[in-house]
Symmetry: D2
Subunit: 381 residues, 4 copies
């Protein structure tokens, strides 16, 4: 680990943003990145102030991502990677600019604001040979990794049932009307894209189900609602899924479920056992081998495997949380970039642009199904 820190830039994430600070902490946690440049806000004053607050050299605080990509791509010690944490509709153009400048990309989800953009971006990213990771951050939790490893090892037998939900309540009232920043862009089709809750949180849930189960969803059927009057994007989605092996799924995501904070929960039931994990209690995994006593596996405990152990920093009973899980994706991105430095490659569990593309297809098909009156839509290309 004595090799030089990776020089990182950031687009978006200025003062008042939530996710930008999360990315910065995640980048810092394992001491693998150094934040040295930014186009932190579309508001020039805020961009400058934010950079100053973060100790970024004023000369490397840019007014636009275009300028930043262009100049940093030419600097001798320009950034090696960029974190893109803007509203969704800006992801695509920004990512393209940095790829073209030869800079690795860490992009927040959903990948873009529409499927066409996502496909174009995925092609570009693949052709570039650069690292492109997407922060489906919940896949970084150790016990999600443990679940994946157990499924792969056959602990559940053949998976029959997948129940996934992601419920919040922060949009239970019309807070966008009062200008709350997070809410405003997420409920605006021009900035958020065609999906509301399905884009903001449903994509996480959809990704995790495939990540853990190792299965691909082949079709979906959706019933979307915008319960809050005046809202044009969905704030609640009831979705049925068919998986490649015949497994059946339900996916519920909601941002109007009064009393739910960040209620992401995964459940898998197979012919030999079941697994349950809840993001709000992330250090534990419930395992129910058919016909035996229920087990609770604990992060850091003696019963978990290598995959979870590799994603763990401190012992069992000392809770790790959201930031540590998020930081795992940064650590793994660092490993990929380090391998790239060496002209090498490495296996990784970190989500990439192809996962981001798949999430966009989920959004588009859910919208299409709903518009057609809840008709099955294929998720295969």
């Amino acid at each position: 680990m004595s090799s030089a820190k990776i020089r990182l830039g950031m687009v978006g994430g200025g003062q008042g943003a939530f996710i930008g600070e999360v990315h910065r902490i995640a980048a810092r946690l394992d001491n693998r990145f150094e934040l040295v440049a930014g186009a932190l806000s579309s508001d020039p004053q805020r961009a400058t102030d934010s950079a100053a607050e973060l100790g970024i050299d004023p000369k490397r605080s840019y007014a636009s991502f275009e300028e930043m990509a262009s100049r940093e791509g030419k600097l001798k010690s320009g950034i090696e990677a960029v974190a893109i944490v803007t509203p969704n509709h800006l992801h695509c153009a920004a990512a393209k600019a940095f790829l073209k400048a030869g800079i690795h990309v860490i992009c927040d989800k959903p990948l873009t604001a529409n499927l066409d953009d996502a496909e174009a971006l995925a092609t570009l990213a693949t052709e570039s040979g650069l690292v492109f990771t997407v922060t489906y951050n919940y896949s970084g939790y150790p016990m999600v990794r443990q679940a994946r490893q157990m499924v792969a090892a056959g602990k559940l037998g053949n998976i029959r049932i997948i129940q996934i939900e992601y419920a919040q309540d922060w949009l239970a009232t019309n807070i966008e009307a009062s200008g709350q920043k997070q809410a405003t862009w997420r409920t605006d089709p021009d900035q958020g894209g065609a999906g509301g809750s399905i884009a903001d949180i449903g994509t996480h849930a959809f990704h995790l189900a495939e990540f853990v189960s190792g299965l691909k969803a082949k079709s979906l059927l959706a019933d979307l609602d915008a319960f809050v009057v005046g809202r044009s994007l969905d704030d609640n989605a009831n979705i049925l899924l068919h998986y490649s092996n015949g497994a059946k799924g339900m996916l519920w995501c909601s941002q109007v479920a009064s009393g739910k904070e960040n209620g992401l929960q995964l459940r898998f039931y197979g012919s030999r056992g079941g697994l349950q994990w809840s993001q709000e209690d992330p250090n534990y995994l419930q395992y129910t081998p058919l016909g035996e006593a229920r087990q609770t596996l604990t992060r850091g405990g003696s019963s978990v495997g290598e995959s979870a152990a590799a994603a763990t920093r401190i012992p069992a009973g000392h809770p790790e949380g959201f930031l540590e899980g998020f930081a795992n994706l940064y650590r793994e991105t660092a490993d990929l970039i380090e391998a790239h430095r060496q002209g090498d490659s490495t296996e990784s569990l970190v989500p990439t642009v192809s996962d981001g593309l798949r999430g966009m297809r989920f959004i588009e098909k859910a919208v299409a199904s709903n518009q057609a009156g809840s008709i099955w839509q294929s998720l295969e290309k």
Copy 2:
């Protein structure tokens, strides 16, 4: 309460049955019934032995329900009520026989084996003027009553989301192949009817959602599976629901969810708050008023209302369970019968034949929707 105990007969529930003994304990718990007659098994020897074991006079142990209805209807001190606890396909004929003999009926769910039977039976029951209750027993739990009362009082505001699930795992393997009695008839269309898990447990969940919310489901869409090879009735069902007020629902029922014992859970989210109740932890109700601290209401506690209090026997912290909830329906049926004795009537929360009929419509429409490829089906007549 000093009036004479109600003379009760039973059809089905002989040795080896599960639900018959539950009905007997429920009938006994509050000392309102006296079991005096039975047609406990279609196997004559088992019928006789079962009656002897229960202390029933051998002269009132019958070989068939027809004989029992006929004779008890004429006895001076014949039974006043009968509990029907046979496999589903026998409910209708038995219930009709007792109604015709002027005897009140307590019928297990689902009401019958098909919708036509159910409609005919409902008509007969209504015309008879007799008491006809259906043991959707989970509605007898005090905290389910509390939930209903809170919804009615507007604690949730306008209900937007209903999430109901009922998951078990006892049919995760092909136990009917080895002759397990409970499994055999429930997985046999000739005895169970057109529905498997949707009939056995889905009807409970469907009923509770309407019971608590005060809403009616107006349409459904279903995706059914029989995961265990060789099984002809569904053992897993993913169902979407539309409710009368615009609320959206998901209902999952399964008998192959490895690790689930009797996982019935109800969740309601409205514009002002949410409620969650789990049958396996029945003495508590989670209440989440929007924007306030989460609350846990406890059965017998100072924060619960009259409806729950009336269904409670012992103080908070002294858990009541399945049998007590079941017994509440018997107690309330006794109240109805007592009122009938007096030529009177009384308000009651106990499910009746019309609830039973509604459950049959749920089953038929779920099967129809599934057969049509998951198409919306109306639940209105």
Copy 3:
């Protein structure tokens, strides 16, 4: 089970009492007893009214237990057993009267109001050859039985640590001042004896620790308080224990722990594993084998042994509660009486007069230790 029901009488438990109704439901649940006589209240009118309400023949409703013992002992079909559910100070005289009349005794705890009485009563009971059971009812819970069986089977290795607590809050304010009946006698030394919370609930906890662990406490050290102004008996007790094998214990009981309803919890830690059980969630037992994943054993599940299974009525996932656990003691008392009818004997887990006596020693020594400034007191005779 076809033998005749046991004819039961009751002393105490008239209108307004709590525990009397619990005993009656428990007696009724398995259909082994028939309540036919009573001295239900020291207030003659209430005694008469209570008997009428319970359907007891007015001729067998007595004004005093002396009269009842005397007459029932001579009747041809007099009661075979009596349940004594009065305030503590009356237990001894009543129990003696029935023993002398040849009638089996089911006595609520604590056994008497002081240790001397308890010793005399235990001697009399033993010499009588009659059945004498004491309703340390929590020992009737299936998962408490499971815990006991697992300890006996060596699952914990050598027990090192016993942590037991029993916390309530119903005496957190001075409710006895307003005449609340349950509170009044329990906080009155003349009726309750020398112990307050230690007698009312501490004895349960003390008994359970020995019941499950199979160990005997050899000494204790106590720090008692009466936190509510004007109260003369303890409402909170912090107690240290030394067990026969070198294990160390802590016992906390309180009736002023604001927010606790009936928080009885048992924890045992040995060289090979641990066990945890909570009365408010009684259908589950937490088992933590050292170095392995935590397990949750469920009542009725496939992982529990014979002892728990024998105390279980309905399948896993269908919660049983306080009444069912209490009823197990009645059922087992019925088995003992049935054996006595046959001139036989039978093994049983139901607590008897010797357990009651041991509880009295616990109370007396706790009071003595506290008075001496928290000095160790021997619990050996």
Copy 4:
């Protein structure tokens, strides 16, 4: 926050250590410190290797803390603060050396290996005017802060009962015999001091009880054990406490409680309500106002106050854990050092040398009480 990062050194914490890495992550999380020097191991090679791995300039990797204190104290840009994370017996000498060099100290707990050292050190620290904080890290958890604020605001009324426990199982077997590094020094009186579990974890629990309640313990009574054969320091402690206001406490700490990982739990019961917090589920606080529904307060939620909010980085439902709580002490230490830079002072909740001293008195008195056969010992000076 744009002021220069604080230059930090570290004593101890080389390869193979646990707590050193925790301190480093905590220091890094909020970007307020920069690790620039170290005496990371008493083994010179390991010291050098560890420094290299951490990117510390080899010239500032020292073979001893004496050399480090001496040289860094004279450097123009020498360290401003040092984190001392060695075994207990080295804390005192190291801390003195840095204080004398004018360098602020962040010291792990317990403060020293004996009470005399602690008193001398506390005097020196106070006279120095330097910042001296002690990492009773659990006090950094937001919901512990919330509990403290609620108690101060009178939510519990007068506190009557304090129940604190801290149970682990990592010393349930004789792992020190096999040379496990963490175990070896903690079970060795020469390195750990007179206390085993009471020093390692009991001091945390003792501190938290006072921190939250705002009360001081005035006396204690202890029953200590070393259950594992061959162990000379306690691995289990049962302790009774008397608090200044008349409240009574129990403190259990154990490192042999099979199945417990890091089970630190705090419970407080007062005349008006109760509070419960568990370190393994740290984002929630149970609040039970007497006679009302139980409440669950969540970190980041709308029901928590300023104190918790100030210690929170991300929204409710996004779990924070052990590292974030630990980092709060570093952040607050940074605030103190920043104020010191300005010649200013600031209020803070971070534990200081006087808390460390109090912990040492707790250890010494617990040992003394146990040796005297569990006799009350004063905790007042």
